[in-house]
Amino acid sequence: MDFELSEDQHALVSALQAILEDHSQIPQSARFDSHWCDTDLQAQLEDMGFLDAAREIGGLEGALVVYETARVIGAVETIGRGLVAPIACPGLELSGPVALARRDGLHLAIRNLPIARMLLIEDGADVLVLDLADGVVEPVETILAYPYGRFAAPPVLDDARRFVGAGEAMRKWWRVGLAAEIAGAASAAIDFTVDYVRTRKAFGRPIGAFQSVQHRLVQRHGYAKAAYYLAMRAAWSGTASDAQVAACHAQSGLKELLFDLHQFNGGMGMTNEHLLHFWIYRARALQAEAGGPTRAALAIAAARWDDGLSEPEERHLSMARS
């Protein structure tokens, strides 16, 4: 398949982009912070129904919303509210940000927990849904580009609602969301850097005229494009294996991406006067949540090849040598 958007999808993306354009600036007061939640945008996405796209239209539309919003400077929560919860927990009433965690990770700092109304907990085959009362979450000081929080005391799960058999869907759409959000952050960071190297001059010419800069940016651009298409393919097909591939690929290119983009922004890239870090730390945080490229790769190997390292679809081949 290819990933040209349908007319309706185009309309959705254009409408969304028109709104996002009004959120491309960071307020002066937040300029030097390590993260900034765009609460206005979060509310707008909620009110205008963009976060219901996955449930009302489909997973691909939900993933498009995640991707596009990941490109803006302010952080918004879209994976939980816009993708995982609506698909994995049908019928669950949703309003406001949704944080995501694993049952064995409830003692850790959890992304978006301070702004979330609800926490989805992956519990093996099932999903637990916990409403978050005021005061149970303590914010965690972090340089990562999202709000992080921790439970003040271990949460009591007795009252949590259980979605039996929803665990697999949660894992899958969480991966799709992480892949789409990493792809969005990566492409925004590349665009930001391309703009920078076009204008910043050294030795009498824009640094973007130097091949060593150009070629590495091209490599990173190829990675980000592939990451986008793989995330969209996974959202479209809804298969567990496509979701794994998308999440693994999105994480695998990050090491070079982070290094090169910082490098090409020079000393400025090391400061928080420059905006680059918003996307870079976003990608770092998402990668940490996804478990890292090695773990993702080994999980794919285990899922595909545990019955003796062979590809299921390819057994028909009589390509034996000699």
Partner: protein
């Protein structure tokens, strides 16, 4: 695109059935280490079979003897050919792609009538004479001269890296007709009959041991003026048609073949080593997944390019992105092949003639993968193109 392909499921079944019935199951055994003569004979035979079934020239228009298939049909056909692991029609590559891509756009009616049916008969082999010892990436600096002399052009100079020239009857030749004009302006494009007096061929031995390309020396070679393709001094434009014709569906075929070739790599990782343990450790698994994931990424990039073609959109730098991605990946893929079983996989084995780029004879595959980052516009040139035309970065300053 998906719906279009779904409508073609009956066609897919037909092609698959035909391949199952007609592709000799032992062809790989027969072509492993085959002589040039056996290789050529087999390519001719297989091309004849494909032509008889209507699958030999899917991209050629029907009026010139091709199948006149829709683009979507061609996609299906190439996918199935790759999936079946059929031989690549490498012997006919220039004849089937570059020749129609050039002559259908720029050739005279007489040139088309003379050559296109002959190509489809399977008897006319072509080569490409563009590169020179001092003009590769910077092709427009080529120096081979063609001087008009009555109703002929007289050509002197040297070409190099000409694949399959030792089998070719004709050559697509670029030569300079106006040395005073700026680089790309004074070049003309010719059909060169390889039997013309004054042509000397020297095969070049490659590091894999095979001789796949040649030097061509041209001494007072007389080319009839009617063999000029396109207007005099506009050969550079004609050459762009030649070069873009190789960027069509061959990349889809290569991507699909790579997916098939991956099964061979897995098979090798499964075989126990000298200590009785399969090469199936965590590090190998991680590297295998890296290749697997990048093959999937390649396939989505290719599909997206094909989708744009189907919708009639301008391709922009998409072919460069795909070519770059493919050639980087092929190198890492075959490198893993050449290291996965330790020294066992590093012997230089026989060449699988007409095989894909991942034959499973890894050392051959690995060495040959280096050709892909050079030929058809090197990786550096592709990156320049993407940077300038795709990302809109400033052009490199011209040489002083």
């Amino acid at each position: 695109m998906l719906e279009e392909l779904q409508r073609l499921e009956p066609f897919r079944a037909e092609v698959r059935g035909w391949l199952a019935a007609n592709l000799p199951s032992d062809w790989r055994r027969r072509m492993l280490g085959a002589s040039e003569a056996d290789h050529v004979a087999f390519q001719e035979w297989w091309f004849g079979k494909l032509m008889a079934a209507g699958y030999g020239a899917p991209h050629w228009p029907a009026e010139w003897g091709g199948s006149g298939f829709s683009f979507a049909q061609q996609i299906v056909l190439y996918e199935e050919i790759a999936r079946a692991g059929a031989p690549r029609l490498i012997h006919y590559f220039v004849a089937l792609h570059h020749v129609p891509g050039t002559l259908l756009h720029w050739g005279t009616h007489a040139q088309r009538e003379r050559h296109l049916p002959a190509v489809l008969s399977g008897k006319e082999i072509w080569c490409q004479g563009f590169s020179e010892p001092n003009a590769g990436s910077d092709l427009a600096s080529l120096r081979t001269r063609a001087v008009r002399d009555g109703d002929h052009y007289v050509v002197n100079g040297q070409k190099t890296w000409s694949s399959n020239a030792h089998h070719a009857q004709f050559c697509l030749l670029l030569a300079r007709t106006d040395p005073a004009a700026s680089k790309s302006r004074g070049i003309s494009y010719f059909i060169l009959d390889m039997k013309t007096p004054g042509i000397t061929l020297r095969p070049i031995k490659q590091m894999t041991g095979a001789s796949h390309f040649n030097e061509i020396f041209l001494d007072d070679v007389r080319i009839p003026a009617e063999n000029l393709v396109g207007p005099e001094n506009e050969g550079w434009k004609v050459a762009q048609s030649t070069l873009s014709s190789e960027r069509g569906l061959s990349i889809l075929e290569l991507a699909e073949r790579m997916k098939q070739g991956f099964a061979l790599l897995l098979a090798d990782a499964r075989v126990p080593g000298p200590d009785g343990v399969p090469y199936d450790d965590a590090e190998t698994r991680r590297r295998l997944v890296d290749i697997h994931v990048r093959i999937e990424a390649l396939r989505v990039l290719v599909n997206n390019q094909l989708g744009a073609v189907l919708r009639g959109e301008a391709l922009g730098v998409a072919p460069s992105i795909v070519k770059l991605y493919y050639s980087d990946l092929l190198r890492d893929f075959t490198r893993l092949g050449a290291s996965i079983r330790g020294i066992e996989s590093q012997h230089l084995e026989d060449v699988l003639m007409g095989g894909p780029n991942e034959t499973g004879y890894w050392m051959q595959d690995y060495l040959y993968s280096w050709a892909w980052t050079i030929s058809g516009g090197s990786s550096e040139i592709q990156r320049n193109i993407i940077a300038e035309r795709g990302l809109g970065l400033p052009r490199e300053p011209a040489a002083a």
